[in-house]
């Protein structure tokens, strides 16, 4: 079985979020990047588990510039066999999906894994687009995936329950919590990652369909106001006049 895992970077959760260029660009200065947790903990690890039990190979693909190679090496250290980097800034979801789909078409994979979303942009779009471009089924928000020959049984988390889907390979799946457990790379894996192939390919021609107008930060949390427990009138007044929720 051949598995392709889409790996993208995300700022470490302790990073300071700032914008430049008139609030149209995220300021990357001083930001530490990590592997997007949904890609690393769930998509990659489940692909590795399947490879370990069924044989085959796990390839990772990242649309990004040379600075992304540190997160790619981490994916290799965790256990992927080889990696591909499409040498371009990942401008928008369509561009990213297009590059991944081009590579997947040319190389043929049984399952393409993505994370359910990136923790910075939360777009959840790439997986669905890749599936469409490959003309394959797409299963989103998978929390469990079992494979029996070419038939997969996948659990999808829904509000208040679980949906169980059956689908045949090849397909695209986006991975959510529950798919697998985070793996900490070990020192041998880190050393092995040094010599694993990381192929850099140039992007296929593709127009950007979207551009970012502006970014803004959520309003800072205001300080907590305490109201005496027996002063209901004051509470109602504040909720009405200040919070404007009643």
């Amino acid at each position: 079985m051949k598995f392709l895992v889409c790996i993208s970077k995300a700022p470490d959760t302790t990073s300071k979020i700032e914008f430049t260029d008139g609030d149209t660009k995220f300021n990357e200065a001083g930001v530490q990047y990590i592997v997007n947790p949904y890609d690393e903990w769930y998509a990659l690890v489940r692909a590795l588990e399947l490879k370990e039990s069924l044989g085959g190979s796990v390839t990772t693909i990242t649309v990004g510039e040379v600075g992304d190679e540190s997160i790619i090496r981490k994916a290799l250290a965790i256990g992927a066999d080889n990696a591909v980097r499409v040498n371009a800034e990942a401008n928008d979801a369509y561009f990213t999906a297009f590059q991944i789909a081009e590579y997947a078409k040319a190389n043929g994979f049984d399952i393409v894994f993505t994370g359910k979303e990136t923790i910075n942009y939360n777009g959840s779009q790439v997986g669905g687009m890749v599936a469409e471009m490959l003309n394959q089924p797409f299963v989103s928000l998978a929390s469990k995936l079992e494979l029996n020959g070419g038939a997969a049984t996948i659990n999808r988390e829904m509000t208040g329950g679980v949906e169980v889907v059956e689908v045949n390979t090849p397909f695209v799946v986006s991975s959510a919590k529950g798919m697998a457990e985070q793996r900490i790379p070990n020192m041998r894996g880190i050393m092995a990652a040094r010599t694993k192939p990381l192929e850099v390919i140039e992007p296929a021609a593709c127009e950007d369909l979207t551009s970012f107008a502006t970014y803004s930060l959520p309003e800072a949390k205001s300080a907590c106001k305490y109201v005496e427990a027996d002063n209901i009138a004051e509470l109602v007044n504040l909720l009405h006049t200040e919070a404007k929720v009643i």
């Binding site: 190679e69 540190s70 981490k74 900490i184 070990n186 020192m187 880190i190």
Partner: protein, 397 residues
């Protein structure tokens, strides 16, 4: 203990000097520690119990003999990576780091450097995976700072050696599968012998009552006419320089490790100083608290620079024993001072097991003594700069 929120301070952007691989190594060690050790360490420490199940885990992540080449089961990392792993382990507990540095630098290192091919093939892979636990017997009841005076000895009996004597204060000893034991031959020259668990006449009783390194197991090694096969003698180096070579490697790891303990104390004290209010303000607003914190981060930053440079020298094979002594001595001393200051910032909470500060402080009392005491390292620096050894003296009659 509360959730482990540790992040390392990096006032001089030292991380820019590390490679991506170094950072991966450090992150992996930190993640493993936070998941597997932080939640249980206080409990083991309090009960003075050795978390033996962690040995396999240390092997799995590659923290046993990090610089041992892949052909012998190690990950083959560089010296800075070794230092970073020791730092992450000791950041959590000096006992955990002791287990790992004894196995790495005092057991695997001599087998790797002084052993023959058969010995390396026989023991290194099992020690690297954590299947085997090892210990290092140099100190004797009457010979601590002066190991050259040891009385443990062996005699050549034709087809085997006959080993007699006793070692004391030996980390990992009671549970060890193999012991690298330093003993004198009939001419008085020191050699390393690998003594295996179960050899007749060999016992390793546990030593109790430690107020320090309580989550590390310590014991004696007793040899009564132990027949050691000749193939267990490490052939490629002898003399006091052989065990001292191992100590160089271990002390290098301790320099990094003790700094880890210091950074953990600082990290907790800094966080606490922003959260704890007295007289209506965070205690971090008081100049006296700021003085403590500012001095701590200054000492940590100086030690980081010292340690990193030592790592580069060690990678190039150029670090001298005296340079390693300086770093071990300095870093343990600043760690002890920082632990004490941090404990004050934490007030009464600082003496509880809600925080690791008091445990670090007690642990560091062993670290300042073992692998060469604080004063012995001072004499090493003194000898290095003056050229005059001041270890021995005659008492005037």
């Amino acid at each position: 203990m509360a959730t482990d929120q540790y992040t390392h301070p990096d006032y001089y952007n030292m991380d820019d000097l590390l490679s991506e691989e170094h950072k991966l190594v450090r992150d992996a060690a930190r993640a493993w520690v936070k998941e597997n050790v932080s939640p249980i360490i206080e409990d083991y420490y309090e009960r003075a119990d050795f978390p033996v199940h962690l040995v396999k885990g240390l092997g799995e992540i590659g923290a046993l003999g990090p610089y041992i080449p892949a052909e012998y089961g190690g990950p083959g990392l560089d010296q800075i990576s070794y230092g970073l792993i020791m730092q992450e382990l000791e950041r959590c507990d000096s006992g955990l780091r002791s287990t790992s540095s004894v196995q790495s630098s005092l057991v695997m290192y001599p087998i790797w450097k002084y052993g023959n091919e058969e010995q390396k093939k026989k023991w290194l892979p099992k020690l690297a995976s954590g299947e085997f636990l090892g210990c290092f017997g140099l100190t004797e009841p009457d010979h601590g700072s002066n190991p050259g005076g040891m009385i443990t000895n062996f005699k050549d009996k034709g087809d085997h050696y006959l080993l007699n004597g006793a070692k004391m204060w030996i980390s990992n000893a009671p549970l060890a599968d193999v012991a690298v034991v330093w003993a004198k031959d009939e001419s008085g020259r020191i050699h390393g012998l690998v003594v295996e668990k179960g050899m007749e006449g060999f016992s390793a009783p546990e030593m109790h009552g430690k107020h320090s390194l309580r989550a590390s197991i310590t014991g004696e090694l007793i040899f009564v006419d132990v027949k050691v096969p000749k193939e267990n003698l490490l052939p490629n180096k002898s003399g006091l320089g052989a065990p001292l070579g191992c100590l160089d490697s271990a002390r290098f790891g301790i320099a990094w490790g003790a700094l880890g303990a210091a950074m953990d104390c600082y990290d907790q004290a800094l966080r606490y100083s922003k959260e704890r209010t007295q007289f209506d303000v965070p205690i971090g607003a008081f100049q006296l608290t700021q003085k403590k914190l500012a001095e701590m981060i200054t000492e940590i930053t100086k030690a980081q620079l010292l340690t990193f440079r030592l790592g580069q020298l060690r990678n190039e094979g150029k670090a001298t024993s005296a340079q390693i002594s300086m770093a071990k001595r300095n870093n343990v001393e600043i760690a002890l001072n920082i632990a004490r200051e941090a404990r004050q910032i934490l007030g009464a909470m600082g003496i509880t097991n809600e925080f690791s500060v008091m445990r670090h402080m007690a642990n560091l009392e062993s670290v300042v003594t073992y692998e060469g005491t604080h004063d012995i390292h001072l004499l090493i620096t003194g000898m290095d700069v003056t050229g005059i050894p001041a270890f021995k003296r005659d008492i005037p009659q």
